[in-house]
Symmetry: C2
């Protein structure tokens, strides 16, 4: 990995903990044995670092949850339940509850303060929405999803459910709460399943 990428990833780790405003980039890269000079050699300023982290790390990490749906042929409800939601459960570790998902954390923190962040984060959510909506549109076509379902609304429901699970989990720091929220989202999707 290039030094540039190492710096970005290292700062990203701290950003997950402290958020963007609480982040101290030069303090972060001390862990790499690098100095502030190295950082400002690769990056113009703190906000450029923030933006690049969103584009290069936050976005692919979040979208990876949904991208396989693009080539998934079966019932999209199955995909969400058995890949997205169970993937979130499977990825679960001690930091999941305390730190949450970076994309949602950054929205909460930075969307009102910085349009550069907000637009980049908006694009992430809209891309995920489009992937999801397309999956459910195809589900309607191949008969696995009820015809009256609105694919865009379902996409919102899924992302909202994931976001909510992390928020409640973060406050309670209770694995049960987190898992329950995800399961409720999964159950809710059953409504849109076409039973022949």
């Amino acid at each position: 990995m290039t030094t540039r990428d190492k710096i970005l990833r290292c700062i990203y780790e701290d950003m997950k903990i402290y958020g963007y405003q609480g982040l101290r980039p030069d303090k972060s890269i001390l862990k790499l044995g690098l100095s502030k000079g190295a950082m400002y050699h690769y990056f113009r300023d703190k906000s450029e670092i923030g933006y690049l982290i969103v584009e290069e790390l936050v976005q692919p990490e979040y979208l990876a949850l949904f991208i396989p749906l693009l080539s998934y042929e079966g019932d999209p409800v199955n995909y969400i339940q058995h890949h997205v939601l169970s993937e979130l459960k499977h990825q679960f570790d001690e930091n999941t509850l305390t730190l949450g998902l970076p994309v949602f954390n950054l929205i909460q923190e930075m969307a009102p303060l910085d349009e550069g962040f907000r637009t980049r984060l908006q694009i992430i959510l809209e891309t995920a929405r489009d992937i999801l909506a397309d999956g459910f549109r195809r589900g309607k076509e191949n008969g696995t999803i009820v015809p009256e379902a609105d694919p865009v609304q379902i996409a919102l429901l899924i992302q909202s459910g994931i976001s909510g699970a992390f928020t409640l989990g973060k406050a309670t720091r209770d694995k049960n709460t987190f898992f329950s929220c995800l399961e409720m989202t999964g159950k809710t999707l059953e409504i849109f399943r076409n039973r022949p």
Copy 2:
């Protein structure tokens, strides 16, 4: 209003925008024509201010959404739909989308960093959860809610849905997205309605 309360409310307004870490308390109270000296006369330090804002302003504001359910006799799904969710729509103004709900913002920002914040915020969510769960438990008793419903899970679903709506709304800054999310939560609750 006392000077103390004026200071707290004034700082709260800025905290809605900048979060806690981005908050500059002495800068905030300049708007009141008061000085840093006044602030440290009434409060020990910044974190005390943060904690008091959560206890005295954030908590009552959020719980006000749910407290009437305690004495609500009808179908709790109706209460959520026609009071909680429509109240959130009714309260909607230009700041709703940009700023979100303080209780959720603070969870995202401060829960991982400060146990003083986290426990106070957790209490708020748990109090709301208990009010909601009690409402749905009573709904089961009086037959408006299906017997197989789990009141605690429904309480999670509602709070998660509200939280998610604000998160997605904040990123997209789109009123439709926000309203759609709230409506999906409302629709989802129909599952638990008992149809005789």
